[in-house]
């Protein structure tokens, strides 16, 4: 019987493809939220496996904070062209102007929370009924409790106490008009699974994931890229260091890690050896309070 055994990456891949096809089968107007980060790049790779030679049954949607890394944006545009799928970009900048939102203040002001406004507007504009996202349960404690099909009300809010039970591999995506479902096909993958899969499948990534020299500001032990979005103070220590990114979000709230890893194998070895979690090491916005993510999710964040 040993011929009919699947490796763990094959099992994860099959589960994720199954979830994506459930989205295609159950919803009228789904979308795949694409950030240019490694998790959403893996989602696109899985979608190719799930739907080719057909077209994707959904467009790629990017909510651009205006604080993104150029490398990630270039990658996004190239990928959409290469696979011939529709890309919709909506800008947080426009939402700020249109709705007179207050720009976040502070040294590393992050537009992360404002993303939610643009996302909800975009969902409304295109009447999306399902949004596929690349969140994983190993990232954070609130995410560990979220369903694979996570129903949001018309304000995009997540109610952790009123989640639908999710049994076997049966997904209930039934909703009323105005509601939408966030779907997380790679819920059961860990950071290491993602990297091992990227390696196995030879998936290309934006260059910032690999070690490169960059001008950074040292802030409480973390390295934040120098950019026009950072409020410089005279006491800031600026230096050029060899770094790579473990996660790719806003330039202002994503920190780099010092690294010499220029190849995938090096990165995998570093991740195995690391003692700090992905978000803990690189996300400044999660460290505001113990329940920062829980609060943002309740308000419509991914």
């Amino acid at each position: 019987m040993s011929d009919y055994k699947l490796d763990y990456l094959d099992q994860l891949e099959s589960e994720s493809i199954h979830i994506m096809r459930e989205v295609a089968g159950q919803f009228e107007r789904p979308a795949l939220l694409f950030s240019g980060g490694k998790d959403s790049i893996v989602l696109v790779h899985l979608a190719l496996k799930a739907f080719r030679p057909g077209k994707f049954p959904f467009p790629l949607v990017h909510i651009d904070t205006g604080h993104n890394f150029k490398e990630a944006l270039d990658y996004r545009d190239n990928l959409a062209e290469e696979i011939g799928e529709r890309l919709i970009v909506r800008n947080v900048e426009d939402t700020i102007k249109l709705k007179h939102l207050a720009e976040p203040k502070g040294k590393f002001a992050s537009r992360n929370a404002l993303q939610t406004y643009t996302l909800l507007d975009t969902i409304e504009e295109f009447k999306f009924d399902a949004c596929i996202g690349g969140a994983r349960r190993d990232e954070e404690k609130a995410r560990a409790k979220e369903r694979i099909f996570s129903v949001r009300d018309e304000f995009g809010q997540w109610n952790p106490k009123l989640q639908r039970p999710e049994l076997w591999s049966i997904y209930n995506g039934k909703i009323d008009k105005g509601e939408n479902v966030r779907v997380f096909p790679i819920s059961n993958w860990t950071e290491l699974d993602i990297w091992n899969y990227i390696k196995r499948e030879h998936i290309r990534l934006p260059s910032i994931y690999f070690a490169h020299k960059r001008e950074v500001i040292e802030h409480e032990g973390q390295f934040v890229a120098m950019s026009k979005f950072v409020l410089l103070e005279p006491t800031d220590k600026i230096s050029v260091r060899k770094v790579r990114y473990r996660t790719v979000g806003d330039m202002t709230c994503t920190a780099a890690v010092e690294s010499n890893a220029t190849k995938i194998d090096d990165i995998i070895n570093e991740i195995i050896a690391t003692k700090t979690s992905e978000r803990g090491e690189t996300r400044i916005d999660d460290q505001v309070s113990e329940a920062a993510m829980e609060d943002r999710k309740k308000n419509g964040y991914f």
Binding site: M1, S2, Y4, K5, L6, D7, Y8, D10, Q11, L12, E13, S14, E15, I17, H18, R21, E22, A24, G25, K49, A50, F51, R52, P53, G54, R137, D138, K141, A142, A144, K145, V151, P160, K161, Q163, R164, P165, E166, L167, W168, S169, I170, N172, K174, I175, D176, S187, N188, T190, L192, D193, T274, K275, T276, S277, G280, E281, E290, A291, E294
Partner: protein, 413 residues
């Protein structure tokens, strides 16, 4: 390397969260920043010791109340296996969460407090394990440190549980004496339990054979989505996308499409865009048929030599999961894999006492967390197998059409 999904059953008092924390901690799966976060929280507590239980309490409401309100998933891996833990709360009002967590688990760890032995809660967890047909059961006799690591206490619990297991028909039961708090027999062998010769818990989890848990005999392929590019080059391309939930499919196999009963042969199988000669559970593939038969989402493609049942009336064991009661005569949607049909719960035949396994008289309605036996009539025939025979094609959910909520879990008999 493969994946083991397991559930832990027990209450906070049994040391369930401590056990999970210990597994993560001792297998070095806890990151420093997460540990520092619980250290910060522990400082507010009186005893000042690091509370591993805090690792699993995800939401603020839970931390405030010191309870677990929902299933949380935790991940760790060793060089041998990737583990997915469904952490479900054990109190009586959360039967629905345990059923949810158990539905995807191949193994259950039932925690027994060595001081109290087999109690009502142990029975309830074991009954749910048997209803959900979880293939492997580990009875972890915890808090051995509080009974002076006594072999006699352990053996008495073993004897008690063995008779319960027999009554429930539980197979593959393994017993391990542990102390989650002190780490005895979790990852490393305990010097304080020299009389125990078996595996440590992690050792057992790493080595338990899962080969028989995937059914390769009864081929079932529920169609999720039809791929039709309708381009010039691919004008005639028509592929049925889905996941093989059990069995093996080969090019050339004679197949039947259910519930219509139309017959054809497999022309081509694609796996991730590549043509393959055969595919097996649980692979996601695209299957092409030789003939132009009518196939759409919700249909099941099976092999001719082994058909599931095709009925419009089914008997189910049902766990009710909604605050609004189930009353005989109520109409719902029934979803089994990708197939969704209207149905009516014709009768509630009896209510099962999850503490004693006694069958109560036919009740008028079922409430949240009740487990009942019911008769359901569907608007169209469904293709299913008995849950006890083939878990992946015998489980179904009920959806309330007015609220869209999943209100019931059915194990079809």
């Amino acid at each position: 390397m493969d994946i083991l999904r397991f559930i832990t059953a027990g209450s906070v008092d049994d040391g369930k969260s401590t056990l999970i924390g210990r597994l993560l901690y001792d297998s070095k799966s806890i990151m420093i920043d997460h540990l520092e976060a619980i250290e910060r929280q522990t400082k507010n507590r009186e005893d000042g010791e690091i509370d591993l239980a805090l690792l699993t309490d995800g939401l603020r409401a839970e931390r405030e109340q010191g309870i677990t309100i929902d299933v949380a998933y935790k991940y760790f891996s060793t060089p041998k296996r990737k583990f997915i833990i469904a952490d479900a709360p054990g109190h009586i009002q959360y039967t629905r969460n345990m059923v949810t967590g158990a539905s995807n688990s191949e193994l259950i760890i039932i925690l027994v407090d060595a001081r109290h032995g087999v109690i009502e809660q142990t029975r309830r967890h074991s009954i749910i394990a048997s209803l959900l047909n979880i293939p492997h059961v580990v009875v972890a006799v915890n808090k051995m440190d509080l009974v002076e690591y006594s072999e006699e206490v352990y053996n008495n619990i073993l004897k008690d549980y063995a008779s319960l297991a027999e009554q429930l028909g539980l197979k593959n039961v393994t017993y391990i004496p542990i102390s989650a708090l002190n780490g005895d027999n979790i990852v490393d062998e305990s010097k304080l339990l020299p009389w125990y010769k078996g595996d440590t818990l992690l050792n057992y989890l790493e080595n338990v054979s899962l080969a028989d848990d995937i059914n390769l005999k009864n081929a079932r392929f529920p169609v999720q989505y039809v791929i039709r590019p309708q381009t010039e080059q691919l004008h005639d391309y028509r592929g049925y996308a889905g996941k093989i939930i059990s069995g093996i499919y080969k090019v050339g196999d004679a197949v039947t499409v259910l519930p219509s009963g139309e017959m054809s042969r497999i022309n081509m199988i694609e796996l991730g865009g590549k043509k393959v000669k055969e595919a097996f559970a649980p692979q996601s593939v695209v299957i092409h048929l030789r003939h132009d038969v009518d196939v759409s989402r919700g249909d099941v493609i099976v092999k001719d030599e082994d058909l599931p049942k095709i009925e419009q009336q089914i008997e189910v064991l049902l766990c009710w999961m909604d605050n609004k009661p189930l009353v005989a005569g109520n109409k719902y949607l029934l979803q089994i894999n990708s197939s969704r049909v209207r149905c009516v719960v014709k009768s509630i035949d009896y209510k099962l006492d999850v503490n004693t396994l006694e069958k109560g008289l036919s009740p008028e309605k079922a409430g949240l967390n009740d487990i009942i036996r019911a008769t359901i009539k569907t608007a169209q025939p469904i293709a299913y197998d008995s849950y006890q025979k083939l878990r992946v094609n015998g489980g179904a959910i009920l959806i309330d059409e007015t609220s869209n909520v999943t209100v019931g879990a059915c194990m079809i008999q």
